[in-house]
């Protein structure tokens, strides 16, 4: 295996560069110290908000070396302008990006400034005044900032938070019912205080409340209006002013934004550009200030065409195969192990991403705390070893026999050519170990999202996976408990794994939780419940004079409020 398995860890900022970066952080940008955090490691894992299982508290702002320059306009590209913007009824990550400009959450990622590494999942208060008080393991008390107003001028109160969470949980068209299902009780002692009681001790509470989806707070009068799908109305840093269907969206600065002095830009314009060549051309011709998610090929084009631009690689997207482990032949772990060993990940990387990316992945993608595959006892299953794979297949299904199966995946419209190419190459490679695969390419919206993506498939399925910022992500992958949404696509039924997942979820001390997570990693690696491809790299580019900006793996664009143009 290649020695790049700690790729993302190497990209996390060192302690020294963290201090350097902090020196240009804008006025008012909150910084955190972790209570009880004594980790001085240069690896900076201490910046993880989940560390030690204790909640961060607000510390002093970092030294300010550069004076922010308010004003001006900022523009960036997205692959599409979403059809609907309602945060309650959409899981689209693209909608979430835009929600981040106009809506607020209880907490938010402390992301987007030079002192925060792209994969740092530290949370900071958003609507909340500070991180919650935790009188016991089940209770979280949030004090709200006093000056939070929706864009319609109405004061936000704790009742609005209750309404939003209740709507996510109970509205019949909500697609986020599972995310907040850990909530047992919501109380509003006064308009500025919000109290949550969880059903069980739940270590990822703050990550859900500050996460990307199913957490935006929108006022009732807007959420229940017909405009909810076409207009965003929250309390965020930018007011949504107009949408040019399929082309662009415009925002202006929210003059009453509660987190002064943000935002710095007067206007933000978002262009939906589906054509990759056009995205490259528009940035090359300096017509947009930020563009992102480029694989190595277009990245290199932009490096030549815009040598002046700032850039950063962030962790990309890792594809994975899920299988019907509840039925033969994939209920035999030897078949699954053989499939993993029958895939030549390096050849796929060479063909699609110029050989770049994280070679080997488990269910985590970019977790700062995750062990790398090469450090797992089961690392051999990621080695391309056709002879060993054939032996495993023969032992499982009999010498000389083959498996006929289907491989369902989305068409090109959602995830791009590289995703399809990965499927084509892997299917061809797996033929060598006795898998005769019928490719089933499905229209993304009308078929794939409603069938394969919901677990309605036979044989094998294939989807991309973005990074996840909460450790309990593993539960979504493998729980066999009553349906909680799009989970357990491999139909895993493993009591030992279930018990470990339950255990880690309630472990509030990080070190203890990590021990459990280590056991889960090894179990999942041994069983190969899901089979993982390499993770690619995605590069952001932004103008040279855009200051106090850094990409984040967590996407939503609230953090643009911290950026200004240093012209």
């Amino acid at each position: 295996m290649e020695d790049r398995s700690n790729y993302w860890l190497r990209r996390k900022l060192s302690r020294r560069s963290t201090i350097r970066g902090a020196a240009i952080t804008g006025v008012g940008a909150g910084a955190f110290a972790l209570v009880g955090c004594g980790d001085d490691d240069d690896d900076d894992s201490s910046s993880n908000g989940n560390n030690q299982g204790l909640l961060p508290t607000v510390a002093a702002s970092p030294t300010v070396a550069k004076q922010p320059k308010p004003g001006g306009a900022f523009s960036f590209q997205m692959p599409n302008i979403p059809n609907t913007l309602d945060p309650y009824t959409v899981t689209s990550f693209q909608t979430a990006y835009l929600n981040g400009l106009s809506y607020s959450k209880m907490l938010r990622f402390k992301a987007g400034t030079p002192d925060v590494a792209p994969a740092d999942n530290t949370m900071e208060p958003d609507i909340a005044q500070k991180m919650p008080e935790q009188p016991d393991e089940l209770t979280y008390v949030f004090k709200l900032k006093p000056n939070v107003k929706f864009h319609n001028g109405r004061q936000l109160t704790s009742e609005d938070i209750r309404y939003a969470y209740d709507r996510y949980l109970n509205y019949d068209k909500s697609v986020h019912k599972t995310g907040l299902s850990f909530i047992d009780k919501m109380e509003m002692p006064d308009p500025a205080t919000f109290k949550i009681t969880t059903k069980v001790p739940y270590a990822d509470t703050t990550f859900y409340l500050g996460g990307n989806i199913g957490s935006w707070i929108g006022p009732k009068e807007h959420a229940e209006s017909p405009e909810a799908t076409t207009k965003m109305l929250g309390s965020g840093p930018f007011i949504h002013t107009s949408t040019e269907a399929n082309v662009s969206m415009s925002f202006k600065k929210n003059p009453d934004y509660f987190d002064k002095p943000y935002p710095y830009f007067e206007e933000v314009k978002v262009f939906g550009v589906s054509d990759l060549a056009k995205r490259v051309a528009d940035f090359a011709s300096k017509q947009v200030n930020l563009t992102w998610l480029f694989l190595p090929e277009p990245r290199d084009q932009l490096l030549k065409q815009r040598p002046d631009a700032q850039k950063e690689e962030t962790q990309g997207i890792g594809g994975y195969i899920y299988l019907r482990t509840d039925k033969p032949p994939f209920n035999d772990k030897r078949v699954r192990q053989a499939i993993s060993m029958g895939i030549n990940r390096k050849a796929i990387r060479d063909a699609i991403t110029k050989g770049e990316g994280v070679p080997d992945q488990l269910y985590f993608v970019g977790y700062p705390f995750a062990r790398q595959v090469k450090d797992l006892p089961q690392a051999k299953y990621w080695d391309y070893n056709v002879a060993e794979a054939k032996k495993l297949m023969a032992a499982a299904i009999g010498e000389g026999k083959t498996i006929d199966t289907t491989w369902s995946h989305a068409d090109i419209t959602a995830y791009g050519q590289e995703y399809l190419d990965t499927a084509t190459l892997a299917q061809s490679q797996l033929k060598d170990i006795g898998l005769n695969i019928t490719d089933n390419s499905q229209p993304y919206t009308t078929s794939y999202l409603k069938t394969t993506y919901q677990g309605d498939y036979e044989g094998m399925g294939h989807s991309p996976r973005a990074v996840a910022y909460w450790m309990d992500y593993v539960t979504e992958r493998f729980t066999m408990k009553p349906k909680r949404g799009r989970i357990n696509l491999s139909y895993v039924k493993d009591d030992k794994l279930e018990a470990l997942m339950d255990k880690q979820r309630s472990q509030l001390k990080m070190e203890e939780r990590l021990q459990t997570v280590r056991q889960i990693e090894e179990l999942v690696a041994e069983e190969q419940y899901e089979i993982y491809f390499s993770t690619d790299t995605r590069t952001y580019f932004w103008d040279k004079d855009i200051t106090n900006y850094r990409p984040t793996a967590w996407f939503p664009y609230t953090h643009i409020m911290k950026t200004w143009r240093d012209a």
Partner: protein, 315 residues
């Protein structure tokens, strides 16, 4: 003449009627349940589906549905989009000007290029210019517009760091910026048409140039330019106009891809998006609109013959 116009108009209405039936039935023949599209989930029960079917009027017999739908269409009500819930006609109306502008620009490019090329090629038959221009037009015919569009985006950006202004500005707001946003897709769209037109113009001109009246004009000592412009070109235009009418439909189809590549908010982009999201009511409205435009263009082409060639009198 008026009888001819009336006949052609009636024939056009008949064609539109047949098209409306085909479109209406084709949309209903597509497999899948409308209520899963409306609710954007497979997890729907019969009660929900019944309510949606009733709301959309698809609980009635197909014949009734058709007449209700067409009755509404005639009053300008194309229904509501299944996905965005917006008025289908309104969604189309705001995009019509852009697509018309793009198509007009593309046809302008095509005509401006094609007519001189066809004439020069015919006048220099079998000469170097003729071979060169024929080679060029065959090349243009072979280039798919979406590929040319991509090249037009990639190379100016690579060589000169230039690409058309992002977003979209209405022509009445900023005409220069608007034209700058549209000239590339229009050129990509119009080039293949110009090649077809140039080739038909050439062969038509060759035929006309061999006519006795052209020989007579030459014998009278008229200059070549005058002969071509006054006597030959107008007569040679009839097949060109016929082809032009047919090809405008192709241009409309081409906008579907090019508007997406160049991120323009026209009918083409809307069509692509409606098809992707299985927005049947929107697709139905769009196909009807495109069909109506095509039928109207063909009607105009038929009627224009009389203007181009006064000998044609539709008695």
């Amino acid at each position: 003449m008026s009888q001819y116009i009336a006949k052609r108009a009636l024939a056009s209405l008949l064609v539109l009627f047949i098209i409306s039936i085909i479109v209406f039935l084709a949309v209903r023949a597509i497999p899948g349940s409308v209520c899963t599209i409306v609710l954007q989930t497979n997890d729907v029960d019969k009660q929900q589906c019944d309510a949606i079917n009733k709301e959309l009027g698809i609980d009635k017999p197909v014949v009734t549905q058709y007449f209700v739908y067409m009755g509404n269409v005639l009053t300008g009500d194309f229904g509501k989009s299944l996905i965005t819930k917006k008025d289908v006609w309104e969604e189309m109306r705001v995009r019509i000007p852009l697509t018309i502008e793009l198509t007009l620009l593309a046809t302008s490019f095509a005509v401006v290029l094609a007519i001189p090329i066809g004439i020069i090629s015919a006048m220099r038959q079998d000469g170097a210019a003729d071979y060169g221009l024929r080679f060029l037009t065959i090349g243009w015919l072979s280039i798919p517009s979406f590929w040319l569009g991509t090249l037009l985006i990639v190379f100016p950006a690579k060589w000169w760091h230039y690409s058309p202004p992002v977003g979209y500005v209405d022509i009445w707001e900023d005409p220069f910026k608007n034209i700058e946003q549209l000239y590339m897709p229009a050129f990509a769209l119009g080039l293949a048409l110009s090649a077809s037109l140039a080739r038909i113009m050439r062969s038509s001109m060759l035929e006309v140039l061999r006519q006795d009246y052209i020989r007579t004009a030459r014998a009278k000592g008229l200059r070549d330019g005058l002969i071509v412009i006054r006597h030959a070109m107008r007569n040679a235009l009839i097949p060109v106009v016929t082809l032009f009418g047919l090809q405008v439909g192709v241009l409309f189809g081409g906008t579907v891809v090019l508007e997406s590549i160049f991120t323009l908010p026209g009918l083409g982009g809307l069509t692509l998006s409606a098809v992707r999201f299985k927005d049947y009511t929107q697709v139905q409205g769009l196909v009807l609109l495109f069909a109506t435009v095509l039928v109207l263009i063909n009607l105009v082409v038929d009627l224009s013959y009389a203007w181009i060639d006064p000998r044609i009198r539709y008695s």
